[in-house]
Amino acid sequence: MGGEWREATIEEVAEKVAMGPFGSSIKVETFVSDGIPVISGQHLHGFKVDDRIGFNYVTEEHAGRLRNANVQRGDVIFTHAGNIGQVAFVPWNSLYERYVISQRQFYMRCDRSKVIPEFVVAYFKTPEGQHRLLANTSQTGVPSIARPVSYLRTIPIPLPPIEEQRAIAHILGTLDDKIELNRKMSETLEEMARALFKSWFVNFDPVVWNAVQAGNPIPERFAATAARYHNGAPCPVSGNIVNLFPDSFESSELGDIPKGWEVKPLPQVIDVNPPRKLTKGRVAPYLDMANMPTQGHSPDVVIERSFTSGMRFINGDTLLARITPCLENGKTAFVDFLNDGQVGWGSTEYIVLRPKPPLPNEFAYCLARDAEFREFAIQSMTGSSGRQRVPAKALDHFTIVTPPEEISRAFGKQVTPIFARSSAAALESRTLAVLRDTLLPKLISGKLRVKDGGKLIERIQT
C-alpha cells in the first residue's frame, strides 16, 4: 500500500504538533460550569470530535495559560496514553470555536495547502495507519505512545494531490453524515412515539379535550391542559381517533382516570420475563450490559456468543436493566435487531417485558422509559451486597391505567411504523459503516480511484 501516492512525513505536512497539558495543570479543581470546553477521550470515538457528549470547562484565563493545549476547528487530536489509537478532528461546524485538550492527548494542525484533516484522520483509521501510529507503543503500565510529538512527526503518510484528498474525504464523509443523520432521525422518531404515549396514557389529553367539548367536569390535575383547550389550543389528535376516547373521568385507586378504562396490575397487561427457549451452547446474538443503550432503543453492538445462562428475548421484547447503577442510568432497549423466530440472550440482570395483545409491543418500551415507572422501579430495589436490584416480582405492584382495545390498536398503528422506520435506519447505518470501512483503505492507498475525479471535485465545489 502507499505505492500509488507519494509519501510525506507528518513533519512535512503539519503546521504544528504539540502535547496536551500536564496533568497537574488541568485538574478537577480547575473545572468550572462554563467556559472553554475540555476534550477528553470519550469525545474521540468517531472521525470527528463528538459534541453531543457533555464537556468539562475551564476558564478562559486558565485556557490562556495552557497555550499549547488550545485547539481549533480542523485540528487533528490523538490519544497518547490509555485508549491509544484514537484519532478525530474538530469538525468545521463544531459547537465551539476553541477547545482545550486534556493530558493524555496531543494534536497536529495541518498545513492545509498540503493535507486536509479529514484525510489525515481517515489514514490513521486504516489498519496501516493504526499500525504506524502504535508501532512505538510502550506496554509498561498504561499503554502509551513514547515521545508522541517527535514520533508522530516521523510517521510517513500517503499524500495524494489535495483535490484527490477532498474527493476521498467527500466519499467517506457522506457515508458518515448519513450514519449520523440516521441516529438523529431515530431520536426524533422515538421522541414522537414517547410524546404520543405520554399524551394518551399519562396525561389523557384526548379525554381532557372531549370533556372540555362536552362541558364535563375536569379534575384538578388536568386543569392546565383544559385551560389551554379553552383558549383555543387545537385538538391533540385527529377527529376519528379522538372519538375513541371517553369524554369524562371517574375516580379510581390511582386518582382520576378516563371513564371506562381499567386499573390493572402490570402483570395482567404485560408479561414479565416470558419463557423463551434457547439451548445451552447454541450460538446466538448476545447483548451485554455495556452495550445496553441509555438513550434510544437500539444497541450499537450485538455480538454472537454461545448461550450459557442469562435472559432470553425475541424481537418485540423490551429489556430493562434492573441492577444498580444501570437502572438509574436508564439502560433500556427495544429488541428489533433479531431475525424472525431468532432468540437472543443477555445479562441475567435484565427484566424482559412483553405486552399482551391488543397492546402493541412498543407500549412496554415507552412505559419503561416513562419517568414515573422508572422512579417506581428504582424505589423497589432491594439487596444488601451493594448490588441493589429490582426483583421482577416488584412489578406486580405497579398499576397501569389500561385503555380499551380500539385505543390500544390505534396506538399500535401509530407507533409500530415509527419504531420500524427507526430500526431500518439503524440497520442501514450498520451497512453504511461496513461500506465505509471497506472503502477506506482502498481509497486512501489509491488502489480504488474515482473514475472521473474531475467531475466529482466539480460537484463538491458547487
Partner: protein, 516 residues
Amino acid sequence: MARKPQNKNSTAKVGFEQKLWQAADALRNNMDAAEYKHVVLGLIFLKYISDAFEAKYAELTAQISEGADPEDPDEYRAASIFWVPKEARWAHLKANAPQPTIGKLVDDAMAAIERDNPSLKGVLPKDYARPGLDKERLGQLINLVSDIALGDPAERARDTLGRVYEYFLSQFASAEGKKGGQFYTPTHVVRVLVEMLAPYKGRVYDPCCGSGGMFVQSEKFIEAHAGRLGDISIYGQESNYTTWRLAKMNLAIRGIDAQIAHGDTFHNDAFPDLKADYVLANPPFNSSDWRGELLKDDKRWVYGVPPAGNANFAWVQHFLHHLAPNGIAGFVLANGSMSSNQSGEGEIRRNIIEADLVDCMVALPGQLFYSTQIPVCLWFLARDKRNGRFRDRRGKTLFIDARKLGTMVDRTHRELTEEDIRKIAGTYHAWRGDRDAGEYEDVPGFCKSATLDDIRKHGHVLTPGRYVGAEAQEDDGEPFEEKMKRLVAQLKEQQAEAAKLDAAIARNLEELGYGG
C-alpha cells in the same frame, strides 16, 4: 467543580482536634493503626483521670485547714473520681518522658491505677514497655497529650479530653478502614437512632456496644434536652476484649456510670433478666460465625429459629427479648434484612410483622460506614404500639426512604447533616404523635404511613421504597401539540436531508464503479 466544605459540627475546637490528630498520627511512624490506637487512647485516658484527680487534689489541699486530707483515697471515691497513686500521676510521667524507661513507668502507672480502682480492672493497656514501641516517640506523644486543654478550667479540660478521645476513635476507625467498623459507628448514624428514640429516662441497652458510641450520644441527647443524666441507666455488652476496654474508658472519661460486660451476647448473655426501655444497637452486618447451630432451642427465638449462616434475626430477637412492655428498639441492619427470604428469615420477619411490632423502617443512603459501602436500614420495633406516651399506632407502620439524603464528605464517604437528621427524626415524631412534633403527612417519595394489609400485599417485604411511592415528576412543560409540531418539522427536515445524502452516496458509488 468546587469542593464541598466539610460540614462537621463546626465548633471552634475542631481545628484543634484535627491538628492534634495530625501530630499524633505523625508519631505513629510505621505502627499499625489498630495497635497504635491503644497506645494513644490509653494515654489520653490516663491524662483524663489524672487531671480529674489533680483538680480534686487541689480542692482538698485548699481545705486542709478544715480537716481535709488530699491523700485519702476515700475522698475521691465519694466524688466518683478515680484515685491516682503517686507513681501514676501525669506530672510524674511528664517529667520522665524523655527517659528510656518511660515505657515501664507508664505500665507501672496503669497497673497502680487498676490496683487501686477495682472498676478499672483489666481495662487499661499495659504494654508500653514492649520493645516494638519506640520510647523516644512515646515520650513525644506524652508531651503532646500533656498540652491538651492545658490551662483550661478543670471542667472544660475534662470535656475536651472526652471529645479528643471520641474524635480519635473516629479517626482510628477511618484509618483502620474495614476493621474500624467493629468498634465505631459513625456519629451521624448513631445520632439518627438517638434522636428518633429520644431516650429521656429508663434503661438503655446495647448488647453489641463497640466502644460505647450509642451511650455517649444518648448522654449528649439528654444534656441537650436539659434532662438529668441520672435518669437513665446504661447496660452494654461487647464480645471483643480490646473493644470492651475502649468502651470502658470511653464511658469513664465521660463520667457515664454504666454496666459494660465483656462476653458473647448470644452464648453468654450478661443481663439475662434485663428488660430495657430502649435498645440501641448496631450489630455486625450479616454475621455468619455466631455459632447459631448451638442455640437451636433458645428461648429468645420466639418468632422462629434464625439461620446459622446469618445472625441478623438472632440480633433482632435478642433485642425483642430484652425489651420492656413499653420499650422501643432502634437498630441498624443490612438492607437484606428487609427482604430476604432465605433460610427461614422471611418467616421470622413475617411473624414479627404479624405480631405488629414494626413501628418504623428507615432506608439510609449508601457509603455511610468506614467498614463497608453497603446501604443499610434502621429498624424500630415497639413492644406495644398502643402505649400511652404516643398515639395509638396499632396496625400501622411508618416507612421513611432517606436514600436521597446525606452529603459526600470525601470521595467514598457520605454523612447525614444536622438537617437530614432533624428531617428523619421529625417525621417519625410527628407520625407517632410526640408533643409539639407537628402534623404528620405522607410525602410521595419520602414517607408513608402503611397498614399491616399494605405490608401483606407486598409479601412482608419492608423496603421503604416500595411503600413511599414515586416522587411527583416534573413535566417538561412542552404541550403535546407543540411538541409534535416541532418534531414533525424536524423529521421532515431530516427526511429531506436523508434523500439528498442518499443521492450523493449513490452518485459517489457510481463514480467508483459500483452504480449497482
